[in-house]
Symmetry: C2
Subunit: 181 residues, 2 copies
DNA sequence: TATTGTTATACTCTATAACTATA
DNA sequence: TATAGTTATAGAGTATAACAATA
C-alpha cells in the first residue's frame, strides 16, 4: 500500500512535493516509545471526568480518529479533508467561503484544506465566470474516483467503531449527539 | 473578569511571562470576520456525513469545545489541562509518565500540559525521595482552589450542552460513547 | 463599503526520536 | 539496559487580523 503525507512547509518545489506525497511514510517501527493505548487506565481515579459527556466524547473521538487515520493513510485523507470532498461533490460550484461555512470553520482554514486537497490532486479551483473574485470548487477525476473508494472504507470504519452497538443504538447515538450543543 | 493566555514561545522571561498570563486578552471584538456558527448549514447537502457516528461526534465536539473554552477563559483551562488537574488531585504522587498513560497521550505531551499548568501556578513538580529521576505531581494551593471553583463551572457547562437531554438520555449517551472504539 | 480569497502569525494538541540523569 | 523526564522537531487543526482584487 502506498502512503501519502502532507508537509505544509512553504511550498518548496511543486512537482517535487507532489512526488514526495506518494512516497511511503517513515512509520518508524523502531525501538522507541510504546504507542499510546486510548483506553481508561483501570488503576487511576478519574473522578468527575467519567460523569462528563464532554470527556466521554473526547475519549471516544481519540479512538475514532486513530482508526480513521489508519484506514485513510494510503490516500492522506483526514476527517476534515473527507468532509470537504463530500461537500464539494454534493454541492456543485461551491465557493470557498461556503465550504468554510458548511464545515463550521474559518475561511483561512478552508484555504488550508483546499490547498492540501489540491496538492493531492483531488480538488481543483475553477474561475467563476460571473464573479472574478470567486472560485468554483470541484473534484478532479482522480478526486472523484478516490472519494468513491474512500467512502466505502469510511463506512467500514464507521461500522468497525460501532461494532458493539446494535442498529438501534447506532441511530440513538447519532440522535443524542445531534441534540448536544 | 480577568483572562489568562499561554504563549509557549521560548520561555523569554519568567516572572514576566506569569504577569502577562494575567493580563486581559485582546479579544479583538473588532471589525473583522464573523465568528463561526457550528451548526449544520441547512442549505447544504452533507450526503453520507450525517450517517456517520464519527462526523456527528466531531460536530458535537466542536460545539462542546467552544462552550468549554468560553467558560474556562478566565483561568486559561483547556480540556486536557482540566483532565490533568483532576487526575493529579485524585491520584497522589502521580508521576509524569503515569499522567501520560492516564490521559492516553505521549510523555512529551504530558510535559507540555504540566509545563503550562506550572506556569499558571496550578501544579508543582516535587522531587520524589525514593527515585531521583521521578517527580511527584501535585496541585498548588492556588491550583486546588481553582480546581474546586472550575469543577463547578465545568458541571454547569456539561449541564448546558446537555440541556436538551433528559437524565436518562444523559446516562444513555455516556454509555453508548463508552461502547465505541 | 462589503465580499472573496489569501497570507501572516499564533496557539493547542499531538507524535517520534533522541538526549540526560538515574536506576 | 531500562526508565523518568526532557527537548527538538514536526504536522494538523484552528483562530484572528490584515491585505489585494473585485463587486
Amino acid at each position: 500500500m502506498e502512503t501519502k503525507t502532507l508537509k505544509s512547509k512553504k511550498d518548496e518545489g511543486f512537482a517535487d512535493e507532489v512526488e514526495r506525497l506518494k512516497e511511503p511514510q517513515q512509520t518508524g517501527e523502531s525501538h522507541n516509545e510504546a504507542t499510546i493505548a486510548p483506553d481508561l487506565a483501570s488503576d487511576m481515579d478519574y473522578g468527575v471526568l467519567t460523569e462528563l459527556v464532554g470527556y466521554c466524547l473526547r475519549r471516544a473521538q481519540i479512538r475514532i480518529y486513530q482508526d480513521f487515520q489508519e484506514a485513510m493513510e494510503p490516500w492522506a485523507i483526514t476527517p476534515p479533508r473527507f468532509s470537504a470532498m463530500i461537500l464539494i461533490r454534493n454541492n456543485t460550484r461551491m465557493k470557498l467561503t461556503e465550504l468554510a461555512r458548511a464545515m463550521g470553520i474559518a475561511r483561512s482554514g478552508a484555504v488550508e484544506v483546499v490547498n492540501s486537497l489540491s496538492k493531492l490532486g483531488y480538488v481543483r479551483r475553477c474561475h467563476s465566470p460571473t464573479d472574478r473574485r470567486a472560485y468554483a470548487l470541484e473534484l478532479t477525476e482522480t478526486g472523484g474516483d478516490v472519494l468513491q473508494k474512500v467512502t466505502v472504507v469510511v463506512r467500514e470504519h464507521d461500522a468497525r467503531i460501532s461494532a458493539r452497538l446494535s442498529d438501534d443504538e447506532h441511530v440513538q447515538l447519532r440522535k443524542l449527539l445531534n441534540k448536544l450543543g
